[in-house]
Symmetry: C2
């Protein structure tokens, strides 16, 4: 994409969405009117109003930035989405497919035939083709690869060979290299000859004859230094570099920390192999944080807002199934104390409070630990301190909220003979379950992290499992021992 961004703020985009929706509604109205009057299909297509509508809609779409078309496609129900998709100029298909979410991309790809897909993908850069390839039918990918020249095919294959969460999968091959022994004057002439620079270029990469990266030359410096100076004298010779196998999240943190716009990617021998840009990093960070939020609610992947009931259910069942199992286990814990509950039904009313408060306070600990792990703030040395702090908070919370609930319990059940011991059991159970849940919140993410999984996902289920089961067990156990 070039720098020629037109003036489109979000208000503008939302206006566009509304206009598109209006045009679609009008289009449908015409179609349904015609349908009612049993006008032959042929006449309909010829009808002036109908044509005008579609022309207007097409024009509107042509004027929009690919990212804005993507936004409109996301916001439209499936049927309308495919109508709009049909009207988008074929040469923009590739760019737009890159911009939409995975779930919506799937619906668009389903609506295209192989020839269209090959054409759409062929218009893209090699790193973008690699982004798209996993979502394309196998035969489309094969045909696509055949259409590429040797160098490009190698780039696509190399991009595809890296793990999705690695720098290699995010990098592009769009950079300008220069030699260290030329003058800035020569370099400037070379750029003028190129005529255009890749998007986001803020620096040139300075390489040796064998491809080894020895420095970077920021455009800024080219502009302000004497043209007679040599690149070697002006370049930055210790740039931040990445390896293709580096974790993308580490690279993202480096971009944030060192305020980078682009950075070279080098192999083990310091040979330049690619380039990482801030726009890709930005998308990565946004995707990661969205994935965290979705996963926390047990949505396995991004879900098209207007997907079918069936697809959505499949996306959500794993989570509900796991939760049903943990809930069943907790239910059996309660079941073991059915005798006690029959004697004192108040226990049934109070037990969810003990479990719930444990879950809430444990998830506060858990959230801080997950964040600490993600930022690499938790080490062997400081982890004991952190644990003591969390235990201290749980103790304080247990004393405070336990006392509150003791008093409330007494107030609620002051008419039954066991009111005082019930209140004391309630207070003690709250305290104990808060201590248990702080330790569960502290250890669950670290355990899951050590097993190599994403703590943000499994840790919450594990925590709820522990706080519910233990909450019921502690409260009903104490009550059975001391009250009955």
């Amino acid at each position: 994409m070039d720098d020629e961004h037109e003036d489109r703020t979000r208000e503008h985009v939302e206006d566009s969405l509304e206009q598109v929706m209006g045009l679609i509604a009008r289009h449908k109205l015409v179609e349904s009117l015609v349908h009612k009057q049993d006008m032959p299909r042929h006449d309909l297509v010829e009808s002036l109003v109908h044509k005008q509508n579609l022309v207007e809609l097409t024009k509107k779409l042509d004027d929009l930035h690919p990212a804005d078309v993507a936004y409109i496609l996301e916001a439209l129900p499936l049927e309308d989405r495919l109508l709009v998709w049909d009207l988008v100029k074929a040469e923009r298909d590739g760019e737009i497919l890159l911009e939409v979410s995975d779930a919506v991309r799937e619906t668009l790809i389903e609506a295209m035939d192989n020839r269209e897909l090959v054409a759409a993908a062929a218009s893209l850069d090699t790193d973008e083709i690699a982004d798209l390839a996993p979502d394309l039918p196998k035969d489309v990918v094969q045909e696509l690869m055949k259409s590429l020249d040797h160098a490009k095919r190698a780039q696509v294959e190399s991009s595809l060979s890296y793990d999705e969460e690695s720098v290699g999968a995010l990098m592009d091959y769009d950079f300008v290299t220069i030699r260290a022994d030329v003058t800035l004057e020569t370099a400037l002439r070379y750029l003028r000859m190129l005529g255009d620079l890749p998007p986001h270029t803020d620096k040139l990469f300075v390489v040796e004859r064998d491809g080894r990266l020895i420095g970077t030359l920021p455009l800024k410096r080219m502009l302000v230094h004497d043209p007679e100076a040599h690149v070697a004298a002006v370049m930055s010779d210790e740039p931040v570099t990445f390896h293709p196998s580096d974790e993308a999240s580490d690279a993202a943190q480096a971009f944030e920390r060192y305020d980078l716009v682009t950075a070279p990617v080098v192999d083990a021998n310091d040979r330049l192999v690619g380039r990482l840009t801030v726009d890709v990093v930005l998308d990565f960070i946004r995707d990661e944080s969205e994935a965290d939020l979705l996963q926390a609610a047990g949505l396995r992947e991004d879900e098209d807002l207007f997907t079918t009931v069936w697809k959505a259910a499949k996306n959500r069942w794993l989570w509900l199934g796991i939760n049903l199992c943990t809930a069943l286990f907790a239910s059996r814990v309660v079941g073991a104390f059915e005798g006690s509950i029959e004697k004192l039904a108040a226990l049934a009313a109070l037990m969810p409070i003990v479990a719930g408060m444990g879950g809430n306070s444990g998830s506060q600990t858990l959230t801080l630990v997950v964040r600490g792990l993600a930022l690499n703030l938790i080490s062997k040395e400081n982890s004991r301190r952190l644990m003591h702090k969390e235990l201290g908070i749980a103790l304080l919370n247990g004393l405070v909220w336990g006392s509150v609930m003791g008093v409330v319990t007494y107030g609620l059940y002051r008419d039954i003979p066991q009111a005082v011991p019930l209140a004391m059991v309630m207070a003690a159970a709250m305290l104990l379950n808060l201590l248990v849940s702080s330790m569960a919140g502290f250890w669950a993410p670290r355990l899951i992290d050590r097993l190599g999984h994403d703590p943000a996902f499994g840790a919450h289920v594990l925590l709820t499992f522990i706080t519910d089961s233990m909450g019921f067990f502690i409260f009903l156990g104490l009550a059975t021992v001391f009250l009955l």
Copy 2:
């Protein structure tokens, strides 16, 4: 910051943290040894080992990028953190204060006297001073403002006058302007005269004599176009611009969509007032997504990992208090059915499953709706469709999981006389509560959004309140009517 980033990947930073921790440990060991031998304090300070240690630590810190020092400060317990902070060169204090999280910044500022604070802040740009000002003591801010010249003071005041979540609060005043009627040659000479360009400069801002922005000139184009060409002929005349009052999150979305590095900020009369850069946008996006995660767990603000128990508890109490109230309400719902539970204690064991499944499935709906609202994907036109889809999923889930639980319930309680009706009540209650919770998940965030609050925070509490209370009510209510 200049582009001279040295080669520091995350592994490197973590090594640094370990080295710093090692040096601190050694330092403490020496101090404690000396302390045990009752060596007078003066001798200690003079002792060679002691000195050497601190010199080594200081040198290590001086070599690190401010962002890396910030990372180390975050990872150290309070006492060690202040030791390190003392050794950091005073002229870097300001930059580092900007990089640390709010919670850690507070601890560092507490350890500094007013003179140090004024000096630290005075070394910063005006937009950075404005970022820091809310965390500084009032008299420090006053003294600081007095030390600034008129233009800078005006900039700080203007930055402070904007809402924290607006473009005005994020923009800086660090840009290079140029007139449209000069040649690129002249422009290049002007840049060479300036000698250095502000960080992230990827384009110059083209303004009229009265300060109105009429276009932007990407550095890339300056480099590749004929130097004889006029700025007016080469510039991009429809740049994406922002207003200071625009919401920062909208601007962040525009940066993502249009892959921007910098963008001009203009007032209502198109006069250039500031500049937005991608590094600030990146930090904003990261902060927002962290705040979302923290808020979801009821942490009111970012918490220093090593804060005191007391401070942490204050940060967490509001949430626990609110949850206690909702849990108490749900408990009273159960309390209303104590008679039924006394007769059939199995109800107590089964009721948490109905409430829990409602909560889980409702939070899936809620998460998608919150995301749709944040991305402005939900409009009047499509909201009905979305609601029908969610109801459809709830119906399907209710039938599936309700049947599963019906069978399981029968299996567990086949020995009691009410086994069959109990299983049917369970299945019906699951279905009904899943329908209720899907509507709660759909409407709660929209209601809170319309009331002008952040749906990510309050919506979850409201949802749990509804799914728990309704879950208990539906299940125990049906059981009372049909079983007893």
